[in-house]
């Protein structure tokens, strides 16, 4: 027990990232508000980044840092487009609840 508590190693960081990833997945699956779903996706990407950086440190290989930097930029771009789509949808129907997106259903 003390070993787990005080001897922090790669496993700790990886498990933390996995927990973060799953909370992100949970947010996407459970919540109905498009903004929160978008935040869940951001959490998933952050978990992936944390995993990348842990492995980067584990292998002593810096290319993981470059990858993580690019993921951050992509996440920013994705968030901006996503928020623009949210605003566009809101303009048409005054809410952003994904359960109420039922125009296209057969």
């Amino acid at each position: 027990m003390g070993n787990i508590l005080f001897n922090v190693g790669y496993g700790h960081f990886l498990v933390l990232a996995a927990v973060l990833f799953l909370i992100g997945v949970g947010a996407v699956l459970v919540r109905r508000n498009a903004l929160i779903i978008l935040m869940g996706v951001e959490l998933m990407l952050n978990a992936a980044n944390m995993t990348l950086l842990t492995f980067s440190r584990m292998w002593g290989d810096l290319s993981g840092h470059t990858f993580a930097l690019i993921v951050i930029a992509v996440a920013a771009a994705e968030a901006s487009v996503g928020l623009a789509i949210v605003v566009a949808v809101f303009r048409g129907r005054r809410n952003v609840d994904v359960d109420k997106l039922t125009t296209l259903r057969h």
Partner: protein, 248 residues
Amino acid sequence: MMRLLILITSAFLAWGAVDAMAPQAAYADPIPAQQGGNPRARVNIVKKSPHLDRVESRDKGMALLFWLFAAMTVGGALFVVTRRNLIAAVMGMVGSFLGISAIYMMLYAHFLSVVQMLVYAGAIMVLFVFVVMILNRPEDEPVAPSGRAGQVIGGLAILYLVGRLVMLLWKVQPPDPIKALAAPVATPEGHEWGTVKAVGTDLFNGGLFPFEAISILLLVAVVGAIAIARPLHAGQDNEGDIPEGEGH
């Protein structure tokens, strides 16, 4: 509930602080060799060069800080999932990102840690707050109850997968414990690892193409976001829409 949380957290912090200040013989790497590491090699390295990069730590203090920031990260993320108020969720997200950036610091990713703070907590979350304000509807609808049985089965399946994943990640074997441990901390130069200089050098070596190509992605995002979100001209409000129901 909140008070209890604050109390526990501050007790935890105080313990960490006292612990960190207490004189101890061994310096510890935030990532010591967990399994199969050569303890002697670690001690030698540590004695040769104490940490020069301001993540200086001692054994228990670092561990406690890790748990603190991990709690902050997970707690903030849980806030996002559970809060019905959008602003509260965004704030939870900011807290989570700050925790993540501290964790990056422990992983010797100094540059990424700062970028995380600037880009995520600083820029993206401000964008989220803007949109929440544009929507002007801070109260979210309650979580929709959808299919009890499905939820239980899905939950169990997810828990099983989580368990497998955690077991897997917990047992990750470093490629070569001694080498991996030695790489970042062996020499004062080793502390360049993960700094702006080191990441920048890598970025303009192997990472040159993606670094340049990402500008196209950002251009698409900027142009696209403006094209989608700019206001419609007057008198055009949804008039040209296809009547609902057609096409079914």
